[in-house]
């Protein structure tokens, strides 16, 4: 597979969790965590996914790596539907995940070496000496000393632990890494070390990334394409530069203006969004963001249908009468 070919395609993916109540715990409603999401990711590229907490970013990531079962929709990897029989094992090898909090995603009773080689054991790859050789190789790749293999996670700092998490994800030579907030638990100076590592690995190994983060500056720095998610739906999807220079959706604009800029000489008008993200259990009808900001044309969005339209080349917006602009 060459760079630029389609690696991952997500089609109309929905993850609804039942809300149970009453004496018999019957399903009385659904929490629509992910509600009709579609995008595609090309080989060697990074797709950044941003949005507030509770908008369904992490659920989407888990649905893609099959940690939660989607209610409907498809995840196609290299042209094969990952839900179909037979695709499973190969899919597991090619798609790996790096979790948010490295302190919680590493087993504190296992040595770093056994954490990193566990995926190899599960997939029956290599003999015992080959595996430990691979562990050494991986540790070097993520910039940790070879002696780390016999130590335990608590002996490492946050940034180093995240490197261990990355080494484990790389063990099976995946093609796609799903990074769920990989740097949000780290200090800025350490955050830049991990981001540099991720960029180096992408260049050397030709990896593709699906990066979930809430820090837009981080996302912009390493992504090719950015998707903005709000209440289970992607509201805008465009190349990174495009989305920052010409945001079309009102939510993207507000999100961009909320990022604090580390330059006191820059003065700009902030758009303060009132309230919180609504509950996905009983979402408001029509455009959910228009409802939150009481947009003047919100009423029209209830009756009208919201469609994905391509405003410019590769610049997709969830079109609604109250929130999109030209």
């Amino acid at each position: 597979m060459k760079d630029g070919e389609e690696l991952l395609k997500v089609k109309d993916l929905r993850v609804h969790f039942p809300v149970r109540g009453g004496v018999f715990r019957k399903a009385i409603g659904a929490c629509k965590a992910v509600d009709g999401v579609g995008f595609s990711l090309k080989k060697g590229q990074t797709l950044g996914l941003v949005g507030e907490s509770g908008c369904g970013k992490s659920t989407l990531a888990k649905a893609i790596v099959q940690l939660v079962a989607p209610t409907s929709g498809q995840v196609c990897f290299q042209g094969f539907n990952s839900n179909e029989k037979g695709g499973g094992k190969q899919f597991c090898k090619s798609v790996q995940m790096v979790f948010q909090d490295p302190a919680e995603s590493l087993n504190s009773r296992m040595t770093v070496g056994s954490i990193i080689q566990e995926p190899l054991e599960i997939h029956h790859i290599g003999s015992i000496p080959e595996r430990s050789l691979r562990v050494q190789q991986l540790l070097e790749q993520v910039g940790l000393p070879p002696s780390s293999a016999t130590r335990y996670p608590f002996e490492f700092s946050g940034g180093q632990r995240q490197r261990i998490g990355i080494a484990r994800a790389l063990a099976l030579q995946p093609e796609l890494l799903v990074l769920d907030e990989p740097v949000s638990a780290l200090d800025v100076s350490v955050q830049s070390q991990v981001l540099n590592l991720l960029m180096d690995l992408q260049r050397d190994l030709g990896l593709s990334y699906l990066l979930i983060a809430h820090d837009l500056a981080v996302v912009r720095h390493i992504s090719d394409v950015i998707a903005v998610m709000y209440l289970g739906k992607i509201v805008e999807l465009a190349p990174a530069n495009q989305i920052f220079s010409h945001p079309r959706h009102a939510y993207t604009k507000a999100l961009l203006s909320a990022i604090p800029i580390a330059d006191p000489s820059v003065k700009r008008e902030k758009i303060i969004i009132p309230g919180d993200i609504p509950s996905p259990i009983n979402p408001p009808p029509g455009c959910a963001f228009g409802h939150r900001v009481s947009a003047p044309n919100y009423d029209q969005s209830i009756s009208g249908e919201m469609k994905w339209i391509e405003k410019d080349q590769d610049h997709w917006v969830l079109d609604c009468p109250c929130c999109t602009s030209n």
């Binding site: 507030e52 907490s53 700092s157 940034g159 200090d187 800025v188 100076s189 350490v190 955050q191 830049s192 070390q193 981001l195 540099n196 960029m199 809430h214 820090d215 837009l216 500056a217 981080v218 912009r220 720095h221 390493i222 992504s223 990174a240 530069n241 920052f244 507000a254 999100l255 203006s257 909320a258 990022i259 604090p260 800029i261 580390a262 330059d263 006191p264 000489s265 820059v266 902030k270 303060i272 969004i273 009132p274 309230g275 919180d276």
Partner: protein, 330 residues
């Protein structure tokens, strides 16, 4: 700006704080000096473990006992030395004169008490007041921090509110007695950017309305740039650079400040380029050297003399102070 007598609102002078640990006594703060004037927002920034929160807790005299102790220095609040006050006198200052906003609103609130009970308790403790008066003042306070339908919220528990709403409640508690100084310890770290923007906006408005001063502790340089008049950069228990925000961001003189600023991805920078990194991590408190502490980590050659002799803290232009390590200072 100072008041008529010229005394600043808060003045910390050469404050050192020690903690007892298994490895002996370690120094968490090493002669920290800073000043907050009336109606000013002062930011303290640095990586985790550099002593930001210890500074805040020292001012409130809330250091964990018996492990933590202030070993030297003075903390003057409106000319009074807080370290000379008795526990009862200090209790009168906390909440009344100095309010504190804690980092994690879920941990700062009592999960089994209603919001209303917790909030009116603040009034009852600090001001002679009847129950119903305290209750109605609490409702006003919730309204002031922008909580919709405050009457119903008073009867709810913390878990029924969102993160942003909980932080508003904590702010309401800190501001209940209209303190002259608000110490905010990472008030927005646990929140989303959009909610962070709401909370920072709220803090600035309340500061103007109540004409209070804010000592803001954060690790986010963006937050500092947007809200603070003055900034103190801390590293390993010391302030390495201090001055007006505009000056520090435009011409940072200490290597640590420069590296810290360069390691944030810029919104107008070139994507996919290497970011500046600071190798390693903040040193542990038990293995600190006496000289320039950033030296071993800075990637710039420091000789033995610089590492063993504490650099002086000098004023290089009006109000702009730097720890004058000959290698780290440009």
């Amino acid at each position: 700006m100072t008041d008529q007598a010229g005394t600043p609102l808060l003045q910390i002078e050469d404050l050192s704080v020690c903690f007892k640990t298994d490895e002996g006594e370690v120094e968490a703060l090493d002669r920290v000096s800073l000043q907050v004037d009336h109606a000013q927002t002062v930011g303290v920034v640095g990586e985790s473990g550099c002593g930001k929160s210890v500074t805040a807790y020292s001012v409130m005299r809330l250091l964990p006992r018996p492990m933590g102790r202030i070993s030297s220095g003075n903390i003057f609040f409106e000319g009074k030395n807080l370290l000379d006050l008795s526990a009862d006198e200090m209790q009168g200052i906390r909440g009344n004169e100095i309010g504190m906003i804690f980092q994690e609103p879920m941990n700062a609130l009592n999960p089994v008490q209603k919001i209303g009970v917790q909030l009116s308790e603040v009034f009852e403790l600090h001001q002679p007041m009847e129950d119903h008066q305290a209750w109605s003042r609490s409702v006003q306070m919730l309204k002031a921090v922008g909580i919709p339908s405050p009457d119903t919220r008073m009867h709810e528990y913390p878990h029924q509110l969102s993160g942003g709403m909980r932080q508003r409640v904590v702010i309401a508690m800190a501001l209940a007695c209209r303190p002259k100084l608000i110490i905010a310890d990472e008030p927005t770290t646990a929140l989303d950017v959009t909610v962070q923007a709401q909370i920072l906006d709220l803090l600035q408005n309340l500061r103007k309305e109540f004409s209070s001063s804010i000592l803001l502790i954060t690790h986010d340089l963006g937050v500092i740039a947007e809200t603070c008049d003055q900034v103190c950069v801390m590293y390993a228990g010391r302030i390495v650079e201090r001055g007006p925000t505009i000056k520090i961001f435009a011409s940072p003189r200490h290597a640590y400040t420069r590296d810290l600023l360069a390691s944030i991805p810029q919104l107008h920078g070139t994507p996919k380029t290497k970011l500046r990194t600071i190798e390693g991590i903040v040193p542990g408190l038990s293995d600190l050297n006496t000289g320039c502490r950033f030296g071993p980590r800075s990637g710039r050659a420091h000789n033995q003399e610089v590492l063993s002799q504490r650099p002086e803290f000098v004023e290089i232009s009006e109000g702009h102070w730097v720890e004058a390590c000959p290698v780290c200072m440009s």
